[in-house]
Amino acid sequence: MTGFRMAAGGRIDRSKPLRFTFDGRQMHGHAGDTLASALLANGIHLVGRSFKYHRPRGIVSAGAEEPNALVTIDRGGGRETPNLRATQVELYEGLVARSQNRFPGLRFDIGGINNAFSRFLGAGFYYKTFMGPRFAGGAKLWARLFEPAIRRAAGLGKAPAGPDPDRYSNRFAHCEVLVIGGGEAGLAEALRRSEDPACRVILCDEQAEFGGWMLVEAPERADEMVEALSARPNVTMLRRSQAFGAYAQNFVAIAEQLSDAQALPDPDRPRERLWQVRAGEVVLASGAIERPLVFPDNDRPGILLAGAAETYLRRYGVLPGRKIVVLAACDTAYGAAFALQDAGAEIVAIAETRAAPGAGEIAARALARGIPVLPGTTILGTTGHLRVSGVQLGRIRPDGTAEPSGGFTADTILMSGGWTPSIHLFSQTKGKLRWEEGLGAYVPAAPAPGQTIRVIGAASGEMPAGMRSPSIGALPVAGSPDRVKAFVDFQNDVTARDLRLATREGFRSIEHVKRYTTTGMATDQGKTSNLNTLGIVAAETGRAVPEIGLTTFRAPYTPVTFGLFAGQARGDLFEPVRRTPMHDWAERNGAVFEDVGSWKRAHYFLPRRPVDPAAAGHGAMHDAVKAECRRVREAVGLFDASTLGKIELVGPDAAEFLERAYVNPVRSLGIGRCRYALLLNEAGFIIDDGIIARLAEDRFHLTTTTGGAARVFGMFEDYLQTEWPDLKVWQTSVTEHWAVIAVQGPRAREIIADLVEGIDLSNAAFPHMAVREGRIAGLPCRLFRVSFTGELGYEINIPAGLALPLWEQLAERAAEFGGGPYGTEAMHVLRAEKGYIIVGQDTDGTMTPEDMGLGWAIGKKKPDFIGKRGLMRPDLTASGRKQLVGLVAEDPARVLEEGAQIVADSLAPAGTHALGHVTSAYFSASLGQGIALAVVEDGRNRIGQTLHIPMERETIAVRVVAPLFLDPEGGRLHG
């Protein structure tokens, strides 16, 4: 035996020594160790400082319930993980662990001074002070002085400074049976159910090995069962896999650790894997957790759960101490005592909180081993600073107090307050629970509707008599219980007296007590403290436990990495980016892109694309947009309009459907003709616009806005399927089938003329707002004579996979004419010069066609259309609504700011009513001045008036004009 490591026994591999450091100190452990077992083997119990009082704390448990032993594991390079439980961290060669929440060090921590002031720092003390005198600033004082100090003192570990480079993956899985927990009950269940080869069984366990308590008591049997299961192809066995969330209809989320136990993980492989399992049946075999006992100074390093001590000895070959006092409320602690004694430790005494040990026989066995058993005894206090050094015992009197009854020196205290079934996941599914007095715990009663979940083994409350103890709450003390610190929630430093204070202050519901004292709200979520809390509150308020209520268990069972939820959705895989067939060309030709919906659209084109477009500055964009606008007005511009939503609507009732859907009359639309159309919601507000083109009697091609495509398609599907299912018409999304090249400008016809086959491009044969099917450059196309610029224009629809060569060809031709591509910004300027609105920019979901000056579009004779009744409501027909107008600043060079508010008077003190706001504002190169569109109350009646725009440092006077700045007669359009 070296240090505290036994020469033999346990599941560790003594042939594989591992080096690790804790707070910089080099130490040794073995393969199979956890960090906690390795630290204990090195004689280290002190591993952390508590949250509030900074008291020295040691390892209490051997599992997921550990409240104290939180450490940071540092793999470097953004791979620092704070707040890990040393009891769950598997040791690997070179592991670097650091303690947390202490300054300057673990052994001497300045924060420990809080302990001395603890009487002033009881539950909820911060609600009662720090408000500061009013003259000193009141609330500001809190935010500026007290809060920052508290924030610095609080928190546990430090967050990593850099991004986590590790990968996380996801799997959806289905099975007939999901068994959660690979202890004896879970393994047996998995074996039984998987006998049927058609029954897919998934078995998961949070630990590195299956077996649970069998790994302590009967490892060979565990090995046999695991081996038998491994041979079955219908069984999936997930180790290091924590079922952390149970959701509706047998849906369980499991976090599987893949690489944390490896010394040199492959960075190309995931660190963790999320399993989303849909099971026919969930079997919960999650076992039970041992309860600590609540006695004065029960938190010193060296005080640990009896079962944990036995685990460290028998599973890890570590003796947790040499001189041991046991405090027991149930029989299982005796087993630990015997094992430790056999391993060479001195068991000074077993103090029994029960007047008579449960089964007298076990006490007899202890006595036979020479271990004194002290019935009706508790611990009244402990000594020792960085580790427990002695214990003061007390005899429990019938009145529930205790009197001192001598003491011992000891380097270790084992406690066992009974066992609590782990019903967290059952509770998460809203299963009904039942209080079982003899167990001092809640047990599963009935699953919630819609859940097929069964709880087996210790988790169901079925435990050997020796594990059962009704003991919860605080143990008797000598004198006033408010003079001692008996910890209930170790991590959040909540003592029995804090809980009593809370009840005294009227916090009686368990949820109130929990929130006021923060008990059960630490990173262990009260796994070891919840029942003792209930016991204390019940005793203090004189009620039975079920009357106090049970705090709700919430996912996750143990903390789960954010990255695991995000999975591979990061960087380029965060959300799909959609690119048009012309994207690469645009990128090569200087395009700076903007996000519109999920699409990337060329915003503007820089002559030479700088490394960082943002660095090129606003001036570069301004120049580019001016040049692009000039191209379109003077020669020809090419615009990639592929992102527009496109729907092909076919069927004998196609016209009837459109007649009902859009505000416009559609039935009268001739074959080969197009119409600008407005779509409303049933409330009467504009939600989309586009072009309706009639290709045949029963075939239409519609366009929608880029961002509205999916919404409009879904809305139409809704009306087609559920509102008007009698109509014989079907829609098909063809957004991605057709790429769209808009060719706009006085030379537009010239550059496409000789490429087009089968379509007469003359004004007479193919006027504005016409559509034809034909071929261009040998490709099938749908050619639209439409314009969103006010110029002669075409929109060429060609199959997306064939679009790029045509674009390239057109771009070359355009260049010869002094034309070229233009982006969305120039498109916005050009359309604003013509007063064409952009839905979503000039409208905001509160505007009607009439507001936008588009009342003409409404088919007045139509009996109904979507939004017609909505438009008739009082507020939508009221006078004084906001209306679309144009604005020009008195200084023509001035470009207004979009979103700027418009008021009547040049003096606009705070609270002045806004008449409207600027919706679009640009510098118009064609006009040599700034232009803007705005919505203004009663705007059309204000044309000619001067209004004002209050900015941060000035007020700008603007003139209201009609929203049409260029070519009011429309001559260019028909060119």
């Binding site: 599907e717 509102e723 017609k868």
Partner: protein, 105 residues
């Protein structure tokens, strides 16, 4: 993630394939000139929003594309029934008749 039986596909499919589409069995009143503002408001906005069984619409958008109806318990999120659009709410799925907007004494 809920598990929803699409009455068209005849299969249980995961919630993320579906889009919730609001309360079911709400009839669009008309013609417009015979509908009062109150009736239109009720159609647009007033909802039973029951704590218990609700008849609602879903669309199997990442599946067969169909809208259908479901009766679900809003307390447990358990689906009591799903049925095709246009079909009546199954009688065994309990109450769900809408109440008028006017106050009842």
């Amino acid at each position: 993630m809920l598990l929803i039986r699409c009455p068209y596909c005849g299969m249980d499919r995961p919630e993320i394939e579906f889009r919730h589409a609001g309360a079911a069995h709400i009839t669009r009143p008309g013609p417009p000139d015979r509908v009062s503002d109150e009736e239109w408001a009720a159609f647009l906005y007033l909802r039973d929003n029951p704590k218990g069984r609700v008849a609602e619409r879903w669309r199997h958008v990442h599946g067969c594309g169909r809208f259908f109806n479901a009766v679900r318990d809003t307390v447990t999120d358990v689906f009591v029934a799903t049925y095709k659009a246009g079909e009546a709410r199954p009688p065994e799925t309990g109450p769900g008749e809408s109440q008028p907007m006017e106050a009842r004494p």
